[in-house]
């Protein structure tokens, strides 16, 4: 039950934001903040409770009520270490998303916060839904409000970007719906009991030929979200046109639902088929790492640049997942967290720059360190995180992924390592053309305000803690990952 409360709070909070805004729009941001913090508190306390894990099972909490029993749909949510850590990330970044929209959004504020909270509610639901119908429900719930966030509060090219985002993800989502239905009917015909339950469907034995198609349905939906090259091109547009909080949620959370989906559903429901495509998937991951990095280097729009670094970073996730190694999977989880924090922070900084300079063009920036040393220092930290400097979380992630996959496929891993050099190339270019070099603008600009300083400080601390003491996270997700590996081991 405790799992449902944060989602309900978010949805109720969202509605009251919308309603209250017509009278006093200042109220609604406080409502939004409290709703997010409530979720953060709930999951933090859960993380404290379960940090040692529960003996014998990966599942920490299981909550289930019938929803539409006639066709086997239940409201079934469950929490394991993987879900828990992703929930923490969700509410953490959600809180920051509210904080960073504090003054940025001046029109239709209530509706804005409604969409923001609904998106977070959807993401939060995706990470715990254990009924495929419910999963699909949450999957759509996070998509539609996100579309509005881009389409209404986005930048100049927002219509194009929001359409593209919607069509790409919706096309993937529909394929997944087909796959879910196929799975549902096959399972029903086999056992006579029709059910959308994840744990029921795990028991299904499917003809290999059919299984391959059904898996593809799931996989496409998740790979679009992840994203995998060449399904990635909704991402640069959506990220660069979205408002700051939108970029933060897109990069920090939405991409993670793709990775989560592959881990939770593709690997366990279709172990043989996943193993069969493993080397291809790893290859695509490596291509993503290199291709994203090359594209990132060429961009002159700062948000587009950061967006392409996401493509590169998520390549590591794809590479790691399909190695089926515990070390690599730990790296994948770490990458999901560290990328969420570091790239989220970079988007926030880009948003702050845009607020001050009214441009995203890095050729019009330069030498900003002189004016804003605190922001420059923060940008340096997260740039270093993004290029994988040890001491910071991203290094642990990339190191574990590469170390784990090296044992499976040393050639691909070696090529992927080139991404480390390329990461340095694009990151330093960004740093140089924005903050270093001769001062390119005139006028006075404020350095970080107190609110911005707090946001950045919290993110900085998190990325350093992840880099120096990642063990609690790894302990928390260990059982869940082993469970996934156990289910998929039939395929190896």
């Amino acid at each position: 039950m405790i799992l449902v409360i944060p989602i309900i709070v978010l949805l109720l909070g969202g509605c009251s934001c919308w309603l209250s805004a017509s009278k006093r729009f200042v109220v609604c941001r406080w409502i939004a903040l409290v709703a997010m913090l409530a979720g953060l508190v709930v999951f933090s306390s859960l993380a404290m409770t379960y940090r040692g894990g529960v003996n014998g099972t990966a599942w920490l909490i299981d909550y289930r009520v019938n929803w539409i029993p006639a066709i086997g749909i239940s409201f079934h949510i469950a929490l394991d270490g993987l879900s828990l850590i992703l929930q923490l990330l969700t509410y953490f970044l959600g809180t920051l998303a509210v904080l960073c929209s504090w003054t940025e959004i001046r029109q239709r504020t209530g509706f804005y916060f409604f969409n923001l909270l609904a998106t977070i509610a959807g993401i939060s639901g995706v990470f715990i839904a254990m009924d495929l119908f419910l999963f699909y429900f949450f999957w759509e719930l996070m998509l539609v409000p996100m579309y509005f966030l881009i389409a209404i509060w986005g930048d100049s090219n927002r219509r194009y970007a929001s359409y593209k985002f919607f069509i790409f993800t919706q096309a993937g989502g529909l394929l997944m719906l087909l796959a879910i239905l196929a799975l549902y009917f096959i399972h029903g015909q086999q056992t006579g009991a029709y059910s959308f339950g994840y744990f029921d469907l795990l028991q299904t034995t499917i003809q290999p030929s059919a299984a391959r198609w059904i898996m593809s349905g799931f996989l496409v939906a998740f790979l679009v979200k992840l994203p995998m090259v060449p399904l990635h091109n909704w991402l640069p547009d959506a990220h660069s046109e979205a408002p700051t909080a939108g970029s933060l949620i897109l990069a920090g959370l939405l991409l993670k639902t793709g990775a989560y989906g592959i881990l939770r559903f593709v690997l366990t429901l279709f172990p043989e088929q996943a193993a069969a495509i493993a080397s291809w998937a790893m290859l695509m991951g490596v291509i993503g790492i290199i291709y994203g990095a090359l594209l990132a280097f060429a961009q002159t729009d700062i948000k587009r640049l950061i967006a392409y670094t996401s493509v590169s970073h998520m390549g590591f996730v794809l590479l790691g997942i399909f190695s089926f190694r515990e070390i690599a999977l730990q790296g994948v989880v770490m990458q999901m967290l560290a990328h969420g924090i570091s790239t989220g922070a970079l988007f926030l900084l880009a948003g702050m720059l845009k607020e001050r300079l009214h441009t995203r063009e890095i050729n019009k920036m330069g030498g900003l360190w002189t004016l804003m040393p605190a922001m420059g220092g923060a940008a340096m930290l997260f740039t270093m995180a993004s290029l994988g400097l040890p001491m910071l979380g991203n290094f642990i992630a990339e190191f574990l992924v590469l170390l784990g996959t090296f044992q499976v496929n040393s050639t691909l891993t070696t090529i992927a390592s080139i991404g480390l050099v390329l990461a340095a190339v694009y990151s330093l270019r960004m740093m140089q053309s924005v903050f270093l070099g001769p001062l390119a603008i005139s006028g006075t600009y404020r350095d970080l305000s107190l609110r911005e300083w707090v946001i950045i400080a919290v993110l900085s601390c998190s990325i350093v803690v992840l880099g120096l003491y990642p063990q609690p996270v790894m302990d928390l997700v260990k059982a869940a990952l082993n469970n996934i590996i156990h289910h998929s081991s039939g395929g190896i």
């Binding site: 593209k164 090259v229 060449p230 990635h232 091109n233 640069p236 090359l294 594209l295 280097f297 060429a298 961009q299 190694r325 515990e326 070390i327 730990q330 030498g367 360190w369 002189t370 040393p373 220092g377 340096m380 270093m384 400097l389 040890p390 001491m391 290094f395 642990i396 190191f399 574990l400 590469l402 170390l403 090296f406 044992q407 040393s410 891993t413 070696t414 390592s417 080139i418 480390l420 050099v421 340095a424 190339v425 330093l428 270019r429 140089q432 903050f435 270093l436 070099g437 001769p438 001062l439 120096l468 003491y469 990642p470 063990q471 790894m474 260990k478």
Partner: protein
Amino acid sequence: MQQYLFLIPVLPLAGFLLLALAGKTMSKRAIAFTGTGSVCVAALIAILLCTDYLSGNSGNAVYIQSLWQWFQTAELAVGLTLRVDALSLVFIFIITFVGALIHVFASAYMRADRDYARFFACMNLFVASMLVLVMADNLVLLYLGWEGVGMCSYLLIGFWYETAANCRAANKAFIITRIGDTALIIGIFLLFRELGSLQIPAILDQAPQRFSSGSGAITTIALLLLAGGMGKSAQVPLQTWLPDAMAGPTPVSALIHAATMVTAGVYLIARMHTIFLLSPLAMTVTAAIGSITLIVAGCSAMVQTDIKRILAYSTISQIGYMFLALGVGAWSAAIFHFFTHAFFKALLFLAAGVVIEYLHHEQDIFRMGGLKKQLPLVYYCFLAGAGSLAAVPLISAGFYSKDAILWYAYSAAGGNAIFWIAGLVGAFITAFYSARLVVVVFWGDRKTPVGSPPGRTMTIPLVILAFLSITAGFIEWPHNLLNVHLFSEWLGTVLPATSLRGGHPPEFILQIVAVVITLSGICTGYYLYFRNTAVLAQWKSSRFPAAAREFFFSGWKFDALYNHLVVRPFLFLTGINKRDVFDRLSDGIVTFSKQFNRSLSFSQNGSLRWYVAGVLIGILFIITIQLIL
């Protein structure tokens, strides 16, 4: 002593944190006190550690302190564990002691700078990272320090970030060393796959059992580690970043780009010596790269006119000597050269910094001159450093370390005549440009107006370093002269003794040859740049020497080569695909459906005649089809 181990890297780290977070609000005094004090206290602890090591249980003493479990999963366990043995102690001593002197120097030298706090924050972070590098008990922690020093080097090269060239130099340094670092980390992956451990002692223990000598896997690992070392230590072909790195403040060049960070490669190879000993090929490659580098960089040092670039090329060249020594298996000789080099090269850089400041930021040596009278103390210190660099026999520290390397280049198990001759050529070149430097900068007539002489905060570190540049060599004598081998005995617990091959001539003969060559190098420099400068002018006007000078001056055209081979193709490749070819693909789908939509909606135009015609054409079409079939 063991429980205080963590203080050595943590003190400078704390200094960094304090300066980075509160530096803006601190007075310059407080900044200098924090920045310098933290390193000085670390140096004191390091000295205490050395005396502790010497006094009692120096048998096989290793200090270990485990801080916390960094990360642990499946078969992988990595701890934040510090491990200090004799080899680490040498490095810790140099890093903290020379580091402290340079910090003291810098507290006066950088006084006028706007970003005083940022400077000391970066310097402290550098010292902390470098200490972690040499104190790491596993390769991941080593890599942490390894990347940390790279980042600090980047931050400090680009310290004066408002000049675009400085930032470019910083980027270049970071990226080129990152290439080496990536090779290193692939080597680490390979080691883990083969041995299942990342603990350095475990690796060194298991490697001889797991690998047969000269097997493919161990050679690959050794070469990857070597590539990592080459990047950080600026060995050919990854040397091009170091001369440009002189864009940073001079104390940075002294500490990072001369005394400590650039020798990280030497440390890595010495630390992993068991791996290299198992691969004769990798050893030979190491020695060959060292010999090539020492000549390539030496030639460039001969013709540079910027005092810092001369010293930079000289640093590359001297590290080449260390690699040569490592490659022939003269482990302790390599570390000994690191030891003496740290003193005299730091001294030379600091003295050069004083000169540059004194002449209002003039770096061209041919616009200096006559400083012997104005700055006598600096002159004598510089002379001690240059003498040590040139390896003046018996009275300079550099002689003792370089003599050992030259001797082993010929006589050690991996040595041969070619390496020896390369070393001798390098010795001649080194002596030549050292003499040139002293003569051109300090002798002759004054050419540039001077500023105010340096204060005591700057001269005391110079004097201490000058003293050590002369005397540091006395702890290790050539075998045939005096039976004092404190340094190699000190390292004997960690590094294997150098084995000699048979059939080499007596040490005495080789020494005489080396001494003659060194002295003739000094004399040539003196002759060409002081006694008879006409010869040089004549050479400059004739074609071939001028072309050769130009070639050496540009660093053997490596930059141009990489520009054509890597940079331009990369820019071209990323440039043409800036708009993302896959985006065109999805846009193509959009265009197609729009076109399709347009042509279909064209048919539905509300005109009755149009519809009737359509119906008729349809009927005709169906009838025709039926008739044909």
